[in-house]
């Protein structure tokens, strides 16, 4: 039995599942790791919702690669632009997303439901300051939404759930869920286990309390 996956291994698995030449948005946080695992020559073009296609790696700030405060990603980190890039304003950038032109979007999550509902913007705690950014637009815009997360919270609570209890980001929008312990398909037909790592279908079924298809 193989071991549970590291973040890097999850990112690599997602990168393998992104078709060559895709237009992809990688959400803030762990999903950005996916970029490091895209094979050279894949032709994958990265979109950043603050207004660019053809985003390159983070800027290193060296003499050949100065940090430019006018060139950042959605996490407000200085990045680079690759040849063939283009800039556009926010209405155009979100029209691109909402109009279904991105092939894949990779997001983090607090919870994903077996039907593909996504909760990733708000814990619902009464004293939390809510912030949503582009999460809801990304959730419903891309042709496929992949979620990258640990399968269980630190306290052992499942994050793949029959019904999300956290405030929703989008309804039925997630198609695939990549976690440390397993990869799943989710959607209108319910959840289906594709592969397990360091655990078994029976163990997962028991711990998650859902039918794994």
């Amino acid at each position: 039995m193989s071991a549970a996956r590291t973040k890097e291994q999850i990112a690599a698995a997602i990168a393998r599942d992104i078709p060559a030449g895709s237009f992809v948005n990688l959400g803030i946080g762990q999903p950005t790791l996916v970029a490091d695992h895209l094979p050279p020559g894949s032709g994958v073009v990265l979109h950043t919702e603050n207004g660019m296609l053809g985003m390159g790696p983070a800027a290193r700030g060296g003499p050949d690669d100065p940090l430019d405060p006018d060139l950042t990603n959605a996490g407000k980190i200085p990045v680079t632009a690759l040849p063939g890039a283009s800039y556009f304003h926010q209405a155009d950038s979100f029209a691109m997303m909402r109009g279904g032109h991105l092939d894949v979007c990779v997001l983090g999550a607090f919870q994903v439901s077996v039907r593909g509902d996504l909760a990733n913007w708000h814990t619902g705690e009464p004293d939390a300051i809510p912030a949503v950014g582009g999460a809801m637009d990304l959730a419903i815009g891309a042709k496929q939404v992949f979620v990258m997360m640990t399968l269980f919270a630190n306290d052992g609570t499942p994050k793949l759930v029959p019904t999300c209890t956290y405030p929703l980001t989008g309804l039925g929008c997630v198609s695939r869920l990549y976690t440390d312990l397993a990869t799943f398909e989710v959607g209108a037909g319910g959840v289906r286990l594709l592969e397990a790592f360091g655990t078994t279908r029976d163990e997962l079924t028991e711990r998650l309390g859902v039918d794994l298809g």
Binding site: N50, P69, D70, M97, R98, I129, A131, M136, T169, G170
Partner: protein
Amino acid sequence: MVTICDSAAEAVADVADGSTVLVGGFGPAGMPFTLIDALIDQGATDLTVVSNNAGNADVGLAALLAKGRVRKVVCSYPRQVDSWVFDALYREGRIELELVPQGNLAERMRAAGAGIGAFFCPTGVGTPLAEGKETREIDGRTYVLEMPIKGDVALVCAHRADRAGNLVYRRTARNFGPVMATAAATTVVQVSEVVDVGEIDPEVVVTPGIYVDRVVVA
């Protein structure tokens, strides 16, 4: 017709108390710091600010908030690692927040600028941010009715203007500038340089001068 102002103070002199102010920028990129500082000095208060974020550190929009000039923030992402000014005001109940998904924020301002009365948008359907809003199923998909956001004033940071007010931006600092410029009754722009008419290629103008009222070099 555009006025090239000698100072940022002149450019924001007539912002009235109670105005809705559209403030460009995505975090610091494209944030019109000089215009905001001038607005702080000018003294307008009871403002509604529409901006993607609610200020970073103690400068720009955060400084305006810290002065107690802002009644309400309409934004997509107030909470950031360095948004302590907003965070404190919010927790103390001293500022109102309307949270809007980022794309809806942009599209609602575009609608205001484009004369669209309202639009059915798929973003946010079934989430708390669509609660109480009208929904409709169109061709098998559910949409939420979203209304325009119009500003009294837009404060925008561009890269270069010509004397006719045509603007070009720089990289991802473009972000909300072009949309806000269309959505406000008065659009005030800070730029790195003003060039003569004819020095910006008509093919590359991002914001045509018709949307620009005042320009100041900052």
